[in-house]
């Protein structure tokens, strides 16, 4: 039975996330945007609350419970609505509140997601309950993760890490940093592994915190790793350089987190649309679904166009999550969702600022902030262009060497 409504069983979760967004995020949204790098201490209480809840991620979090695919997802042959779907619904709702604050939620970092997704039982025990950030990007390697230069060399029972990492979300606040480094640059992608580094490791030096266009509540750190020694057990996944599987394994984290970022974009987009609808209606603009776009006022027609793009972005995101819940390969749909949601978020929030005029542009409302926050959602976890590349390769049946 084709049904694209929010599952009834997730309604309490969505309502709860909405309360958090309304009562916790929105009231402090502007403050932590203005006071960049100030620690939003209000989130400690919330994080404790989330930890206390069943499985941690069930009210959404930032998907840090990981996205381990249940291998028996399709075992009964029936339709499953599971944690992938509930997570995107929760994230969208929280980001309707504030995406920067969501990214600052303690113990809900991308590193947590990576650890939860691929860690061994011993690693889970050792690193569980800690806040983990993710360090992939380098000054000379952004979208091209395979080009990272940070080295990891085995020395006895320890790996020694050397290199430079930038754009580490929550890098200053987290307890752990999951660092991507190469065991052997000559062997390319498959030699790239991720290592868990304790934040207080003396070889891990904070260079600076970035000043940013948006998501200013979230700290973005740059590090230098200088003879940074971690135990052998800090390597996530297999230490073998498997030319067939290696990099795919690392990239799998992205396959699973793209719908989460799409969900963030969906939440921010909805926030802007709701605010703008209110302002337009107050201004006397008639928003009538029955009247064709060409027979409406320009403002109403533009608003309808933005709502339609939002609907497509939202449904693509739900589709990608639903497929993961049901054990269906969703790499194509995950990238479609990320591409559509990312660009829609930017277009819609900027369009809303334009429609609302100075009331949209001024700091008196949050519209201008959402428009600034939006841009990162079309960049991190794979830029718009990277998503289009992934979609194109899949649709056209091309390898990364054919379509570069």
């Amino acid at each position: 039975m084709i049904n694209l409504e929010t599952p009834k069983k997730f309604k309490p979760l969505v309502d709860q996330a909405n309360q958090v967004a309304t009562e916790v995020f929105r009231p402090i949204s502007r403050r932590y945007d203005s006071e960049e790098h100030a620690y939003p201490k209000e989130l400690d209480m919330l994080a404790a609350l989330i930890d206390g809840m069943n499985e941690g991620s069930d009210i959404g979090g930032a998907g840090a419970a990981g996205v381990r695919r249940s291998s028996n997802g399709d075992s009964d042959g029936g339709n499953r609505n599971g944690s992938n779907l509930s997570t995107v619904l929760g994230i969208a709702e929280l980001c309707w509140g504030d995406v920067g604050l969501l990214l600052s939620l303690p113990r809900q970092g991308l590193g947590n997601s990576a650890i939860a997704s691929v860690a061994t039982e011993e690693q889970l025990e050792r690193y569980g309950g800690k806040w983990a950030a993710m360090a992939i990007t380098e000054p000379e390697a952004g979208s091209d993760s395979a080009a990272i230069r940070t080295r990891a060399e085995l020395d006895g029972d320890e790996y020694v890490l050397n290199g430079e990492k930038i754009f580490v979300t929550s890098g200053d606040r987290a307890d752990l940093i999951v660092v991507w480094a190469s065991l052997d640059p000559a062997r390319g992608r498959s030699a790239i592994k991720s290592f868990i580094v304790e934040r207080d490791n003396p070889g891990l030096n904070l260079d600076r915190l970035e000043h940013k266009l948006g998501i200013r509540a979230s700290d973005t750190a740059n590090f230098t790793l200088q003879d940074c020694r971690v135990p052998k057990e800090a390597l996530l996944g297999s230490p073998e350089i498997d030319t067939k599987q290696g990099f795919g394994g690392a990239m799998q984290t992205f396959d699973n987190t793209r719908p989460l970022v799409a969900a963030m974009a969906v939440g921010v987009t909805r926030a802007a649309l709701e605010e703008t609808r209110g302002q337009l209606e107050e201004a006397g603009v008639e928003l009538d679904d029955a009247v064709p776009a060409y027979a409406q006022s320009a403002a109403a027609a533009r608003f309808g166009e933005m709502e339609a793009d939002y609907e497509a972005a939202r449904l693509l995101t739900l589709q990608a999550a639903w497929m993961a819940d049901n054990g269906k390969p969703n790499s194509l749909q995950a990238s479609m969702a990320k591409a559509k949601a990312g660009r829609t978020c930017v277009d819609v929030t900027l369009g809303c600022v334009e429609l609302c005029g100075s009331a949209g542009y001024a700091e008196s409302e949050l519209l201008e902030k959402w428009a600034r926050d939006a841009k990162i959602l079309d960049i991190f976890e794979g830029t718009q262009q990277i998503q289009l590349l992934i979609v194109a390769r899949q649709l056209l049946g091309k390898s990364s060497s054919e379509l570069r």
């Binding site: 039975m1 084709i2 694209l4 009538d288 609907e311 497509a312 590349l389 194109a392 649709l395 054919e402």
Partner: protein, 443 residues
């Protein structure tokens, strides 16, 4: 051929054209500021030459009359997000997809050129049951509960073969669905048996009018009372095969009331049709329906003139056109992929270039978005949930993105896309319809 060899009629035709051309070149018209009037008179003079009465249809006879009208029930959504069609829908979809690939696509080029869909093809589509989806089981239908999703899946599948043929094949079903949803017990008894018979009639649901900025909530076609009768005047646009239709459901603005639907049998006095060839949808032999003082009995009105029934009709039609545009957009995607992979330029497939590859990505992304929005609107309709907003969102997506896909489909083939050797130019013409059509089809 010399002038003296021409037949008399040919020469007189030539003379007429020469005179007309001299008139057209005359600065007198411009000085008198009557050029527009004269050109319009010449145009409608030639046009009216083709105006014909509507088909001499069958006599619709009531078979069994139920005490109250039969309606399809609501579907239980099951409470879970799900993108898998149920067994019945899956079966319909597969059967119609096979038919579209084996029969519709191969016939599309010629049907487009001839402005006609082969009767055999329409008969085969009828045999698949595509025109009785909206008919309740009590009245011989095959789908027990809401058939909007089923209709959308079938529309999508048929349009993957060809949008114009899909329009021709599905248009009669819109009338059956309208009668089944909003007709009285008498109207159901009179008209529906014909649609479930072996020889279903051609029929058309007429809402669209030939006006710029046409708004279905504000109709030019009027219905006024005369005693217990209705008198209808107006013009309806882009009907499928109007000359062959035996039954029309026509939307008109009721004096002192909102828009409403009326059932009109062909052959009524004051009813005529004329061809209206268009940019696309040509296999549907599109034409206008002209109503000149058409007198109808009081009971010809559907749903007792309930404005919410008409509003629902408009939205269901938009979902149906969305479904057709999704199928056509998918056809474009499926066609350009092998083309750009095989076409060599600068020593390698053009799809190795991001400028080409990203255009393919966008077609894929937007087609999927259009599809999901369409399914959601249809599914809400089946579940008895409000769906006017969702239908409007799907409509906007399909109108805007569908047209972009039509355009990119041609662009990706370059000059080869512009010529009729490839179907992409046809899809370009057809996809414009998703933003223009109102009524005509229903889910």
């Amino acid at each position: 051929m010399s002038g003296t060899d021409k037949g008399v009629s040919e020469r007189s035709m030539g003379f007429g054209l020469r005179a007309l051309n001299r008139l057209a070149g005359s600065s007198l018209l411009d000085r008198m500021r009557i050029r527009g009037h004269v050109e319009r008179a010449v145009f409608s003079g030639s046009k009216n030459g083709f105006r014909t009465a509507t088909a001499a249809g069958r006599t619709f006879k009531a078979a069994q009359r139920l005490g109250k009208p039969a309606r399809q029930g609501r579907r239980d959504g099951g409470g879970l997000f799900d993108l898998t069609p149920d067994d019945e829908q899956g079966m319909f979809k597969e059967t119609v997809s096979d038919f579209a690939a084996a029969k519709v696509r191969p016939a599309a080029g010629e049907a487009d050129a001839e402005r006609a869909t082969p009767a055999e093809l329409l008969a085969q589509a009828n045999e698949l049951g595509v025109n009785m989806l909206g008919v309740p089981e009590e009245l011989g239908g095959v789908v027990g509960e809401g058939a909007a999703v089923t209709s959308a899946l079938i529309g999508e599948a048929l349009a993957h073969g060809d949008m114009g043929i899909a329009y021709a094949a599905l248009a009669p079903g819109a009338v059956a669905t309208a009668i089944a949803r909003w007709g009285s017990a008498d109207q159901e008894a009179a008209y529906l048996p014909a649609f479930t018979s072996e020889d279903p009639p051609a029929a058309a649901l007429a809402i669209l009018e030939p006006l710029p900025l046409f708004d279905p909530t504000s109709l030019r076609t009027r219905a006024r009372r005369e005693g217990s009768d209705w008198i209808l005047d107006g013009t309806k646009s882009l009907l499928a095969r109007p000359g062959e239709c035996e039954l029309f459901v026509v939307a008109a603005a009721v004096e002192d009331g909102g828009p409403a639907l009326f059932a009109i049998e062909s052959g009524a006095d004051g009813l005529s049709v004329e061809p209206e060839p268009a940019m696309g949808l040509r296999p549907a032999a599109t034409g206008r329906l002209l109503l000149d003082g058409v007198r109808l009995p009081g009971e010809a009105q559907l749903a007792g003139g309930d404005p919410s029934a008409y509003a629902e009709c408009v939205q269901r039609a938009r979902i149906a056109w969305c479904a057709l545009s999704v199928g056509t957009a998918q056809a474009a995607l499926d066609y350009v992929i092998p083309y750009v992979n095989e076409r060599i330029a600068f020593g390698e497939p053009v799809s190795n270039r991001q400028g080409v590859a990203f255009a393919v990505s966008d077609i894929g992304i937007e087609t999927e978005g259009m599809r999901l929005a369409t399914y959601r609107a249809a599914s809400r309709a089946d579940q008895g949930l409000p769906f006017s907003h969702e239908a409007a969102l799907a409509r906007r997506l399909c109108a805007a993105k569908g047209m972009q896909i039509g355009s990119d489909g041609v662009q990706l083939l370059g000059g080869h896309g512009f010529v009729k050797e490839h179907p992409v130019e046809r899809w370009y013409r057809d996809l414009r319809a998703a933003g223009v059509m109102e009524g005509a089809l229903l889910v």
